[in-house]
């Protein structure tokens, strides 16, 4: 199964179609240029002037290479990683050489094979330095990925939920054995999903099914108090999302939005697609003051971190408290994901 993670294992090339990656390359190469200018110069003002002069070289090359790499984004990951790396370095070197030839043609530069070679070497080195940086970044994040996974695992299902659900199932065994059976099967499915390897993106439909099972179990013990409204419109079938992205949010919605009240409350979940973005909206009633929501903040931070690991800057998660008419408050979570098909 393919994934759109930016740092898949054994494939150290970054995903050049990701805005975060592009931004990092732009900033990184410009920093290199600035450092180069500083080394050559005699003073700070001089170094800035040199940097500006150098920009005429650096920026066109950068934009050209970024566009080319983004276009090659679907092909590169399929090559063996060493070959792909070589392609990137050679592209940068060749485009630098071409540019100096173009400037010679425009009579801005005197040309000569020495200067062409120097440009090619500089371009290639800059590309190699950026690749090296991305490889380092992958390494720096992989323990974080494992840790985030562990953290997520422990934070995800509250023991409170497990024991209360078991208690509810026990109460059903004598009166409604069939419902008890279904509930135990659902609990088993839920824990199977929780204990799976959590690194690959999963179809959105699977995550929704998991959430429904979870909510069925909660409904078992909360009964009429828990209402759920789903609204799923125009969501592509093959869309993938990070595993267990929604379930912890729903668990919080029930824990902080439904359980503290003896009145019935509604949890609303809405999916919609706007252009190349998938928007997910969750809403639940809100009672506690903010300080009582420590557990909720932890889960939100956790999911935000995982979104950043999967999508860099392209995914967002926002939360807000909304005052409704009649003094009621609602808590909203809004998630925006890039809607990229998994098939290259």
């Amino acid at each position: 199964m393919s994934s759109i993670r930016q740092n898949p294992a054994g494939q150290p090339l970054p995903d050049f179609r990701n805005f975060g990656v592009m931004l990092r390359i732009l900033l990184g190469v410009n920093l290199l240029a600035l450092a180069g200018a500083l080394v050559q110069s005699t003073g700070v003002v001089d170094s800035l002037q040199r940097y500006v002069a150098m920009a005429a070289w650096v920026q066109p090359l950068l934009l050209f290479n970024l566009t080319l790499l983004a276009l090659l984004g679907t092909i590169l990951p399929r090559l063996p990683s060493l070959v792909a790396q070589a392609v990137v370095v050679l592209l940068a070197a060749a485009s630098s050489a071409l540019l100096i030839d173009f400037w010679r043609f425009m009579a801005v530069d005197e040309g000569g094979w020495q200067r062409v070679l120097r440009a090619a070497l500089l371009g290639g080195l800059a590309a190699w330095a950026m690749l090296f940086y991305f490889a380092l970044r992958v390494r720096a994040f992989s323990p974080a990925l494992a840790e985030a996974r562990l953290q997520a695992l422990t934070a995800r299902i509250r023991p409170h939920f497990l024991f209360n659900t078991l208690n509810a199932v026990l109460s059903l065994i004598r009166s409604e054995p069939r419902r008890a059976e279904t509930a135990l099967e659902e609990l088993a499915d839920l824990f199977r999903a929780l204990m799976r390897d959590h690194r690959d993106l999963l179809p959105l439909a699977d995550e929704i099914a998991l959430c429904r099972q979870y909510l069925n179990l909660e409904k078992l013990r909360l009964g009429e108090r828990l209402n759920i409204e789903w609204e799923i419109a125009d969501v592509p079938d093959d869309l993938t999302v990070p595993p267990l992205m929604l379930q912890p949010l729903l668990e919080n919605a029930v824990y902080y939005g439904i359980e503290p009240s003896s009145e019935a409350g509604t949890v609303r979940i809405r999916f919609s697609r706007r252009g190349h973005e998938l928007h997910i909206d969750l809403a639940n009633p809100c009672f506690n003051s903010n300080k009582a929501q420590g557990g909720n903040r932890m889960a939100i931070a956790n999911i935000r971190e995982r979104l950043a690991l999967y999508y860099d800057l392209e995914a967002r998660l926002e939360t807000k408290d909304v005052m409704l008419d009649g003094g009621l408050r609602e808590y909203h979570v809004h998630i925006i994901l890039p809607c990229r098909s998994t098939k290259p």
């Binding site: 509250r158 023991p159 409170h160 497990l162 024991f163 209360n164 078991l166 208690n167 509810a168 026990l170 109460s171 059903l172 004598r174 009166s175 078992l220 013990r221 909360l222 009964g223 359980e259 503290p260 009240s261 003896s262 009582a292």
Partner: protein, 254 residues
């Protein structure tokens, strides 16, 4: 052995069903009868007023009034029923129960454990109010007062002011006064978000302040008084507290 009358307090219906089943299971060992069920602390107080109750099986996490607060109110009764806490998972509370030898059961409850807890009930001493106060997370939702053998609950939002007179503290609502067996200092600490101190012996609900007016006291010195919503009474503000109260009032009007 006499039959124990039991009340089950839990917000989840299946949890109550489960306890009822188990109580029936242990009947041979410990004769018992479930006299009422309640979905939260408030309903439980009503149920306990209506029935003679020996044992209350109470969940900790419940809406409106949680189990710990219920226990604190019940402790004021002349003959409080024995309380056995039932909790799904609450590491902090369970630790405190162990430390203070308070009876508790963990969900899912086992029949033997339930029987053992019921058998112990007769000899066990009720948990002290101080311990329960420590266990409570956050402020109470009600204050309670014991009046002619009945437990009266006063919802906090209805309280306009709290005043200390000699031995007692009085809570004033729009309709009447209640005598409380608590200290003003403790109340001030617990409900610091809701009340503000006007002088040595009075706390007023911030929401109940309608305004302030100046008057002259016996020594012809200016004295500020707080006007209250809903009742004609005025509460004097001490000279010491005035700067604090004034800054709060300014904060409100801005």
């Amino acid at each position: 052995m006499t039959t124990l009358s039991v009340i089950i307090v839990d917000d989840e219906v299946p949890a109550r069903t489960r306890l009822r089943d188990l109580l029936a299971d242990v009947y041979a060992e410990v004769p018992n009868a479930v006299v009422a069920e309640a979905g939260n602390g408030l309903q439980a107080v009503d149920a306990i007023a209506a029935h003679a109750v020996d044992v209350v099986l109470v969940d900790i996490r419940m809406p409106q009034m949680d189990g710990i607060e219920l226990a604190r109110h019940l402790a004021q009764l002349e003959h409080p029923p024995a309380i056995i806490f039932v909790t799904a998972f609450d590491g902090y509370a369970v630790q405190a129960f162990e430390l203070n030898a308070i009876d508790y059961l963990v969900k899912p409850v086992r029949a033997q454990r339930l029987a053992a807890a019921l058998q112990k009930v007769k000899q066990s001493r009720p948990a002290s109010p101080q311990v329960l106060a420590q266990l409570q997370q956050g402020a109470r939702t009600h204050l309670s007062c014991h009046e002619r053998g009945r437990l009266l609950l006063i919802p906090l939002p209805e309280i306009l002011y709290l005043k200390a007179d000699l031995k007692y503290v009085t809570a004033r609502t729009a309709s009447r006064e209640y005598l409380l067996d608590e200290s003003l200092t403790h109340l001030e600490e617990e409900f610091s978000e809701r009340f503000i101190r006007l002088h040595r012996s009075a706390l007023v609900a911030k929401e109940a302040i309608a305004g302030f007016e100046k008057s002259l006291d016996e020594d012809a010195e200016t004295q500020w008084q707080a006007l209250l919503r809903g009742i004609p009474e005025k509460l004097p503000v001490s000279r010491r507290q005035w700067p604090l109260v004034k800054s709060y009032a300014k904060q409100l009007s801005s």
